[in-house]
Each structure stands twice: as C-alpha cells, then as structure tokens.
Amino acid sequence: MEIDPLPNGTGATAATTTETTITTTAPTAASNTAPSSKLSQLTDSLKLEHQFLRVPFEHFKKTIRANHRSVEKEVSAVISSVADVADSNELSKDDAVLSLTSLVSRLQGLKRKLEEGNRTENLHAQRCCTRLDHLESVDAENLSEWNNIRVKRILVDYMLRMSYYDTAVKLAQSSNIGELVDIEVFQEAKKVIDALRNQDVGPALAWCADNKSRLKKSKSKFEFQLRLQEFIELVRAENYMRAILYARRYLAPWGATHLKELQQVMTTLAFRSNTECAKYKVLFDPKQWDFLVGQFKQEFYRLYGMTVEPLLNIYLQAGLSALKTPYCYEDDCTKEDPLSQENFRKLAMPLPYSKQHHSKLVCYITKELMDTENPPQVLPNGYVYSTKALKEMAEKNNGKITCPRTGLVCNYSELVKAYIS
C-alpha cells in the first residue's frame, strides 16, 4: 500500500479508495505510537496558561473585596447612626422614628446591592470554573480546534493591550469565546487610558485609590508620577500659587522616598514651560502623557497577574527562534515555512537561531522527514533524497532516476544508502 507522499497530490492515481482509508487512519496510528511524549508535551503547553486562570481570579477577588468593603461601610454607618439617634437629647420621638425608618430603607437598599454583588461574584466564580474546564477539555481529537481557539485567545489579548477594542469584541463574539478572554477586565483599563490620552488624570487617580493597598505593597510610584504631571500642568499654565499648594498637599508625602524627583520637579517653578534646559524641558514634553499610559499598563498588568508583554509577542518570539535556521533565508525556502515571508523574516532578524543536537533531514521532493523507515539515499552526484520519493520515481520511469536539482539521470541500482545518526 502506498500513501500519497506529495502534499500537492502528484501520484494520486485511481486509488482514491485506498487513499481515503489510509489518510484517515494514518494520523491516529502515528499518535498511538508516541502517546506519552505527546501527553507530556500537552501538559507542558498547558502550564503556560497561568494568565488564563489568574486574570479572572484576580477580577473575582477584586469584586469580593469591593463588595465586602461596601457592606462593612454601610453597616457601620447604620450602627453609628443608631447610636447618634440614641445619644441625641434633642430628637423628638417622631423624629427618632423617622430617622430609624430611613435607616431601614437604607438597609433594604444595601440588601438589593448585596444580591446584585452576589450575582456578579457567582459569575466570576463560574468563569474561573469555565476556564479550568476549557483547559481540561483538550484531547487528541479536538486538538486542532483547541489550538485554533488558543490562537484567537492570544490575538484577543493582543488587541486589548493595543487598545483595538472593537476588533477584540468582534473576534470574541464571532468565535464565541467571550468567556475565555478578558474583555471586561480591560474595560476598566480603557477608561483610564482614554482619560490619560486626553490629559486627564482623574480616572487614573481614582484607580490608584481603588487599588491603594496592592499598589503600596508593590512599591508602585504610579500615583506619584500622576501627581507630578498634574503639578507640571499647573506650572505650564503659570498657575504658580496653586502649583505650590498642590505640591504641599500631594507631593510632599512622597518626599521621604522620592526626594530627588520631587526636587527636580519643584525646580520647574523657576523655569517656564518653554525652557531649553534639557533636564526640565523633558518634563514639559507632551510625550510624558504617553509615558504615563505605558506606566499605567505596567501597573495594570501586574495587578491582574498578566505578562508584561502581550502573549502574542512572547509566543511569536519563542516560535520564530525555534524555527529560525540559516536555510530560512535562502531563495528556495519552502512557502510552508513562515520564515519564507518577508514580514516574519523582519521580526526574526534580531532573534537567535535555533539549535539542534541531532540531524533532521527533510526530503527535497516529498518534504517528508527522512528516518529509518524512509532512509536517505545518495545519487552518484552526492544529492540526497528519500527512499520513498526515489522508489516512486523509479517505478514510474522504468528504474530511471532524474535528479530534480541537477538533471542528472541514473539507475535506481546506482543509489547508495546513507546512515545518519
């Protein structure tokens, strides 16, 4: 039985039926021979999915914290109001009843809020489960579909990080993978980034306040950078008195840890915003706002347990390095190699070449790997092809072999086997 070895389907003759059966059974046979290595490869690849589980979990935690805080706040407010009413001497009975009933309706409001908060928390918990289920669902049968979804997940992550929100939403919707990507989380980032692009630090400061304890733990100085920028804007507007008041209130607390930056920025009071002094000119550069956007992204990614770089870049870099060989840049590089394309070559340029410990020979004719089952054979001119390709050629041409690269014609009997370890 012959398997059609050519990807472009030469040699596919009348034997359509045998072909059908073979092409469908061949892959399963192959996967049966090496199940353990395939399995460990799959496990290794799943281990890369940290962010996939971590982000919804962080989101979940954040919601829980926020809900808990608001319950605490409401309850303690009610209790202290009751105490106020009880301790007050001026309140009439009717007034007391009135304020107590208003407290009751306040608590009813809290209850409604609690119910809603509970529902969101439930959704978050469910999302964590869905993601685990998705990781668990991968097996030999759906592998290619699963890999397809992984590519889409990686692309959505890239879109979100690059602020291509429309495409991110569209891709997620059209592929029905909304539960597997973090569009919702990025809505929060979008608000802050959009505002920063409009030179408004408000939402960013609010975000800092929301995440105060965690930012403090990681020694983040993002809030300080935002304050510095606001100060600079006041100086730019020549609002010096307000700038000084602002600095006293918001910058001074950072003096203990960031005195140098504080001094530098205070010095701008002595300059105008059109200063040519390089050290201060840079502070007035509108690009500082882009810098803040970048800083915010870093903080945001860290808080949610995301990688600092888009997943796409990480996978592309590793993949390109692993695929890159000196042969990729030759003219006869096969189209199937991504590195035959100019764009991929450009990206791979600064990356290292792959490293091989063992020979891997690919038949020039069939593009199949030559191994002990399909060993390489040498023509008299030193050119090497796979046994399978040469045998087929010989059968078609009465035992004659024509070297496709040099045109040399020889007999099948003149070939010698090469042993390559």
Partner: protein
C-alpha cells in the same frame, strides 16, 4: 496535569463565597429586624422611647455585625489564597522570563495579523482590525483572493461543484504543472453525483466530455468510474459504494485549499498559527533553561543561537539540518557533510581532523571500516 485539585479549590472558594454572601444578608436582616422591632415598640407605647433607643443601641452592639461579617470573610480569604497558591504552583507563573527585550515593529505584526484573519476566512474581523489598527491597509488586497476560495469551499459544502470546477478549469495548466490532479478529482465527484441521481445517460455524457483529456495519465481511475455506470441508481449496493463517502468531499476540499493557496503563493497553514504553535512547543524548554541560568539574563539578550536545543514536531521541519555526530556542529558550506564508503556521514572538518588532513586512514566511529579521506563524497540534502 492535576486540574482536579484546582477544581476542588475553586469549588471551595465558591462555597465560601456563597456562605459569606448569605451571612451578609443575614446580618443585614438581623439589623433590620431589630430596628423595626424598636420602631414598633416606640409607636405602641407612649412613654420611654428613649430607653427603647438605648436598648436598640445595646442590642446592635451585642449583635456585633461587623465581626460576624469578618469571620466568614476571613474564611473566604483563606480559600482564595489557597486557590491562588495552587494555580501559581501548577502553572508557569511568568512565561515572559525567556523574552528578549526587543520591540516588534507593530506595523509588521499588524500586517501579519490582518492577513491571518483573511486567510482564515474571518473577513469582517479582518476589516474591523484594519480600521482599528491602521498601517495594515495594504493587506486588504488579500481579502478578495481568499473570499473567492471560501465561496468555492462554501459551495462545495452545499454539494455544489460549479465554482470549484470553474476555478480548476481556468487554472488547469498551472495545476498540471504543480502535479495536481485536482480537476480530475472534481470531475470525479461531479460524475458520481450525477450517477447517484440515477441518470445514466447524463453521466455518460459528462464522462465523454470531461474524462477524455485525462485518459493518458489516469486510465485506471477512469476505468473504475466507467464501471460505476453499470450500477447507476443502486451505487449504494455496488462494489463502488465507497465512492459515495462524504470524506471524499472533505479530501478534495482540502486539496483545493492547498492548491488555491499554492497558486496565490501562500502556505497551506496560516504562518501565524504555525509560528505560535512552534512557540508553544519551544517555550517550556526555554523557560526551564532560564530558571537554571537565572543569573545570566544579560547573555541571553545577545546570544546568536539558542543555548538549548528545542525539539519541534516534524510538521515544523522545513529544512535539512545536518549535525556532525563527532563535532556536534551543524554543517555549513565550508564544512559540508561527507559520505564515507561505509555509508556513515561526518562533517568535512571532522574527517580532516581524524585523517590528519588526509595523510592517513582512520576508523569510522560507527563501524569497523577503515576510511580513506580521499574516497569521501560531499552530500547535498
């Protein structure tokens, strides 16, 4: 992979979350009850509303709602941190550890992504992306090309071969040049389809017009197809029943995709998918290596070649790589692989070294043969 223990951990979190939620409800209800009770008492008795208020204050103090809340919340926090620890342990917490700090040109990346969308048939997403991202407008030229392909494939799914046949006929010369018999395979499907409908004359006519030009190269197949004519209308019970299998359509559709991409000068698989898949296989060994040599991050940034071998599956092998088994170096133009008379292969430099520049014979490292360097032949893979 131990996903089950993670699932248990997340279940525990969900349970504690429910508990904490109902506790908050309960505490709020308690407070509401107490206040309402107090209001009622104040309204029913005419005197002593002050004492009722003080009693309420005391009650609420005894209830200690905040510490009640704190208790369940703490349990929830413990479950949360347990889950987080389990996730951090089971997964690779930072896959960017093996990342080289170079910035990818975003225009290039965006072009790659846009063409990926088009070639995957995600035309709307591709259009949206080009508007969103900018810089990839040139890629839009790929859209109509692939649109044609997906229209053909869609028609085939509906068992309409017309567009496919039109395309293959227009490009028949190029297909032949590439050694593809796609056109015949399409005719084959069409012929069987006609026959299946039971119209033998029409099938015969179809065969006469379309099969003749393939007679030289594919006689056996044509003979078989003509054999089918005997069973017109009852092909299902004939020796040719396998020709009716729907997988035949899938195979031809795949071949059409391959040839279509080929004629467009494109690869069969999306290069973006291929590269990401290679990255998925390459990252684990690279990350492992980075953990081992944590202190040498600097070297990693400037290496010309990966420090560890990365074994990719065979679908990622596009080039022949020869590694000399003696020197462990990859062959180059200056140091080509050489075939020894015994059939084993070494690099030229290794042979030169072992033969003292051809001045003496040496033993093959793999077999007992004596090797004379002058009798070695250079190989081309």
């Amino acid at each position: 992979m131990e996903l089950n223990s993670l699932k248990d951990a997340v279940d525990r979190v969900a349970k504690k979350q429910k508990l904490s939620g109902s506790k908050s409800q309960e505490v709020t209800d308690q407070i509401v009850q107490e206040i309402e009770k107090a209001v009622e008492m104040m309204q029913s008795t005419t005197v002593g509303y002050k004492s009722v208020l003080l009693e309420l204050k005391k009650k609420l103090h005894e209830l200690a709602p905040l510490s009640q809340l704190e208790g369940t919340h703490k349990e929830l926090n413990i479950a949360l941190s347990k889950y987080q620890k389990a996730v951090d342990k089971a997964f690779n917490p930072d896959i960017s550890k093996a990342y080289r700090n170079i910035e990818f040109d975003s225009h290039t990346v965006n072009q790659i992504i846009a063409s990926h969308f088009y070639r995957q048939g995600l035309f709307d997403v591709g259009d949206c992306f080009i508007t969103d991202a900018g810089g990839a407008e040139a890629t839009a030229s790929m859209r109509p090309l692939f649109q044609e392909m997906y229209q053909i494939l869609e028609a085939m799914k509906n068992r309409n071969l017309e567009p496919a046949l039109n395309w293959a006929t227009t490009n028949s010369n190029q297909l032949k040049e590439n050694g593809s018999d796609l056109l015949l395979r399409l005719h084959h499907l069409q012929f069987v389809k006609i026959l299946q409908k039971g119209s033998r004359d029409e099938a015969l006519k179809y065969a006469r017009t379309n099969f003749a030009s393939f007679a030289g190269s594919h006689m056996a197949e044509i003979q078989k197809l003509m054999g089918c004519l005997l069973y017109s209308g009852r092909l299902q019970q004939s020796p040719y029943a396998h020709l009716l299998s729907p997988t035949n359509w899938d195979i031809v559709a795949e071949e059409l995709t391959r040839q279509f991409c080929n004629l467009l000068g494109q690869s069969y698989e999306s290069p973006l998918s291929v590269t990401i898949a290679a990255g998925v296989q390459a990252l684990p060994p690279l990350l492992k290596f980075m953990t081992v040599m944590a202190g040498k991050k600097q070297e990693w940034q400037s290496m010309k070649q990966l420090p560890v071998p990365v074994e990719l599956d065979k679908e990622f092998q596009f080039h022949s790589i020869f590694v000399c088994p003696v020197s462990k170096e990859q062959s180059t133009d200056d140091n080509p692989p050489m075939l020894m008379l015994c059939g084993h292969v070494l690099c030229k430099q290794s042979i030169n070294k072992m033969s003292k520049n051809g001045s003496k014979t040496f033993k093959c490292p793999y077999c007992p043969s004596d090797i004379n360097a002058t009798q070695c032949r250079q190989l081309n893979f």
